[in-house]
Every structure is written in C-alpha cells, then in structure tokens.
Symmetry: none
Subunit: 181 residues, 4 copies
C-alpha cells in the first residue's frame, strides 16, 4: 500500500513539473524574441551583503579612538557596498578640505575593491592608470581608503580617512576597518 501511494505521489509530481515546463516554454515561444530561455528557470537575484549602520558607526568610533591615541584630527567616511555614504564624522579641529577627501578615498577603495594607495601607484606619469583621477567625478589615489569586508571576504563597503600624513590616515583607516567583519 505504502509503495503504491508513493508511486502515485511521484506521478502527480511529474505531471505538475512537466506541465509547468511545457506551459513556461510555450509562453516563451508565444512572446517576442527575448531572453525567454532564461525565463524558463526564473533568474534568481544575487544574494549579497551590505554594511549595517551599527558596523559603520563601530568603524567610525574605532577610527576616532585611534586618531585620539595618535593625537591626530581626522575626517572619517564610511560608504556601503553601493558606494553611498553610510556614516561620517569630522573631529573637532580637523581639516575642512578632508571632508571631501575622506569621502573620495572611501569611494576609490570601493570602486576598485583595493586600497586607495594602490591606485596611486598605478596612476603616476607613465603608469598604466595615469590620470584615472579624472574619472568618477574625482578619485583620491593616495593612502587612507580601504575596502571593508565581511568574514567571508565579501566587500560590503569602504572607509576613507583624511586629516594628517597619508601614513597616519592609513593607520586610522586600518583601525576602523579592523572592527568590521
């Protein structure tokens, strides 16, 4: 009895699946010449990750703490996986010109998923990316911008820091990046 039931269930299942495929492929044939074949198996959205506000604020707080420890005054920007601003802080007395630079460092790091300084080594006169800074409404290609990654390596955003030497900017950015996982 049990086996018969099981066979009946499989038969129904088969009928449903075959019927569905037949219907879907027919629909596809009836329509205009599109990407109909893919529509047979409905294309799936990407499953991805993005930085949360809690993470972004934790990164800013860690960067501010590092800046205070190194007696520097920093502008700190965190952007999300889409390159859009998520959190920002300008320490008291930090350079006004570093607001834009911190944001552009973060964007540069996320736009190419590498440290902003790496772009700088490739964009010197004679280098392969000479004058890439003219793109994207202005890049900043010296150190201080770092991708932010989830534990599995997915890039979920970037941090940009400006306000002191590029070495200090990088150190503070690294302190912010370290708390994001």
């Amino acid at each position: 009895m049990k086996n018969v039931k099981r066979i009946g269930f499989v038969a129904v299942l088969l009928a449903v699946v075959v019927g569905g495929v037949w219907y879907a492929s027919h629909q596809a044939q009836a329509g205009a010449p599109t990407v109909a074949d893919q529509a047979v198996a409905a294309p799936a959205a990407l499953v991805t990750k993005d930085i949360s506000l809690a993470q972004a604020q934790a990164a800013v707080a860690a960067a501010v703490a590092k800046a205070e420890a190194t007696k520097t005054k920093m502008d700190i920007a965190v952007i999300d996986a889409g390159g859009n601003l998520k959190a920002f802080a300008r320490m008291d007395g930090a350079w006004l010109g570093s607001i834009d630079i911190a944001m552009k460092k973060a964007k540069t790091a996320r736009y190419f998923d590498m440290p902003s300084g790496t772009i700088g080594t490739l964009s010197q006169p004679g280098g392969p990316l000479f004058n890439i800074e003219h793109s994207n409404n202005g890049l900043i290609s010296f150190p201080g911008g770092l991708p932010l990654k989830a534990a599995d390596g997915t890039v979920i955003g970037a941090i940009g820091v400006s306000g002191s030497t590029v070495e200090n900017d990088h150190t503070v950015a690294a302190a912010g990046a370290e708390v994001v996982k």
Copy 2:
C-alpha cells in the same frame, strides 16, 4: 640720567606712533576711499561658537532613536556653523536619494538660519522668493531642516533629515535639535 633716558625713549616712541598715524591717515586721504582708516586701529576678530562632534553625534543618536520609535528609516546630516558636514548616519534600508536631501536641508536651514520649510512657504509661485532653490548649488525647501543653537541663541550648525513624509522628517529633526544647546 635714567629718567632722562626714559623721557628720550618715550619721546622717540611718541614721534614714531604719531608719525605712523599721520602717515596712515594721509595715505587714506590721498588714495581712493578705502578702509584704511579702520586699519589704523587693527580690527578685531569675531568671537563665536561652533558645534562640537560630541554634540553632532548626540543629535544624530537622538534622531535615530526618534526614527526607530516612529518606525521610519532616515538619513540624518549635521553641519557646522560654516555649513560643512560634521556627522552623518543613514539607517539600514533608508532611501539612497535622501543622502543628498538630508545634507541640502541642513544647508538650507543654516544658510538662512531658519527651518527649511519656512523657505518653502516663501518660494511658491508668486511668493517673494520664487525659485530661490536655483541658488547655492540647489536648496531643499520643504520641512526636515532645522538650525542648531547654543544656549545663548547662537546658530552653531544645522540638522537635516530625510526618509519619510515631511512631517516625520521634521519630527525626527526636531528630536535631534532638542539635545543640542
């Protein structure tokens, strides 16, 4: 001897000062009508106030708390007395288009030291400030932007909130403004 020397020194000092003033005022009379007369008595700097990062972050935190309490998702920007970004937070799931609007609401409030919505009531067709939004690289003249004031009434910055209805935006901005003194 000592007194004589002192008197001689004072006389020379007087001669230099009087001569300098005479020269400066003469220069002023001889030239085009300038501000030279004011320059004789060196003009003083203004003593003023500006928002601190601690204040800006407290305003953002209070605004986020209010947004959570009202089940809205907001972009929140705080600028300083000079109109420069001081702190920013975008809540998870908040509109991307509200990043710029929150910033422009804050700027509009600081640029004219009044709520952004007040500008909006004056800039309607037929109103005295019709099309003022074309200035300053774009203003946002609906509610959600408020000046931030020190206890003595000095405007030390502004907050701009965007992400829901303008009523909700205003309510959240007001919650942020309330903690700044």
Copy 3:
C-alpha cells in the same frame, strides 16, 4: 499634607530620572557602541573665532596697496573660518581667470590650514598627495594662498591672491595677511 504631596512628587521625579538614566545607559550597553553615554551629560559647543568684515577689508586694502607698490594687478579674495567668501576685490585690468584662482587659493589655504604652495610641493608626481587637486571641486596648489590667524593662533580665514607671478601673488597675499591679528 502639603509636605507629603511634595515628597511624593519628588519621589516620582527621582524614579523617572533614575529610570531614564538607567534605561539610557542600558541601551548603550546593549546596543552597538554609540555616543549614548555622552548624551547623558549634554556636550558643550566649541568657543571659537571668525574673521570680521573690518579685518577682511583691511586685508584686501593692504593687498591692493602692495600690488600698486609692486606695479601688479591682482584679484584678492578673503574667506572666513568656514571657507565662505567674506570680501573680494579685482583691480582694474587684473586677469578675469584669477577671480576663481584667488578664491580657490584661499580655500586651499583654509581647507588644510597651510600656505597653498605647501600643498603644491606635496602633490607633485611621486609625492604623497599627488592629484589632491581633484578634490573639493578643484584646489589651487601654487603660492598665493595663506591662512589668516588671530593673535592666539586660531585660523579665522584665509586670503588668496592671483594676477601675476606666483612670487608676486605670494608677496601681495602676505601683505594682506600681515594686517590680520
């Protein structure tokens, strides 16, 4: 009766206040590291200084006088502590292209609190700030921009001069900066 009521009121008040503080600090501990703890004790505004119009006009007048003395024709811009234009003069026959350059030199000097030419020495190919000029809607990194400081060293604005050689531009800017204290 009256006293009892008063005591009862005070007790309720105390309960509300203590409960509020407990709740706030607990929220801070429970959530991500935020600025909630600071918000308990209301943070104070910064007390600072800004350039006055009298100072700005005195700087422009001194710069014009120096330009006349050196037979040059200059554009002279003075901005305030927040980077916003305070005073401007273009001498008769001075270059039209120097309107924007004078303003950008002043901004560059204030944005990083150093002479504009110092940025230029750091932004050469191979230098640490290569291509920084792409930030902030365009910087000008050759001499002619100087920070303006109050007697106590507070940066209260900046002057930018353009219209001749960079040496002359710097000399005229320095003459303007000298009268601001």
Copy 4:
C-alpha cells in the same frame, strides 16, 4: 602750369585708388569667401565703458551704510560689464546662503540689463519666461539686483544684494547703485 600739375596729380591719385580697389576686390575673389571687403576699411573696436574698482567699492560702501542704517545684515556683490565679479562684502552675521544669491542677482540684472525683479514678474507659471532660472547656471529673479549705469546710460555692471526681505534687499541695492555714475 599749376593746373597741369594738378591734373597730373589727380590722374596719379585716380590710378592708385582704382588700382587699389581692383587689387583688393581681386584678392577677395581669389580667396575663400570671407569678410575681405570689410577689411579694406579696417573695422574699428567698440569704444565702451566698464566699472572701476573705485566705483565698485564705493557702491559696496554705500550699500553697507544703508544696511547699517536699516539694521539689516547683507551680502553685497558688484560685477563688471562682462558679468565678472569686481567687489564683494559679507557683513558680520549676514546669511551664508546670500553669498551666491547676491552674485546671482547681480548677474541676472546685467545679463538682461534690467532689475532682477523684472525677470521675476515674467517667469511665473504661465508667464512668457517661465523657468528662465534654469539658464546661465542659475538665475535669481526676485528683487535685489540692479544694473549700474554710467552718466550717459551705458550699463557698466550690476549690483546684487541679499540678506533680508526682498524689499530691504532692493533698498540697499538702490543705495549702492546711486553712487555709481
């Protein structure tokens, strides 16, 4: 004898003139179709007038005096006949947003050689110039901008004032315009 000489002179003159015209017209025919005919009589440059720095600073000073007399705080911009900034002053405490508006009012007045408010009456919904504010990188079409004219009526620049009601802005602009001739 005298007459013969005269006839001979006239004959030579005629030959030179006819020859010259023949040569010139031939050149014109030989070359590409250009403005060569006009070149025979070299075209003259326009003789025009432009505002001097002394005039511009006098207008600013008169406007500041009027603003002080009416207890308002104004941003005042003066541009030259070419529409380029000549002089500017922002009074202490005047709105930051009025820097750009004062400049745009002056430009609007010079761009069309009429008061900025006149443009505003024509740019309302349904009016002939609806949305003209979108041109020229942004116009401001409410009162406060006035052309500046030499004694003979030549427009030599414009003044733009912003910082209070449009009525006050206009009054202060008129006070500045009055001293320019």
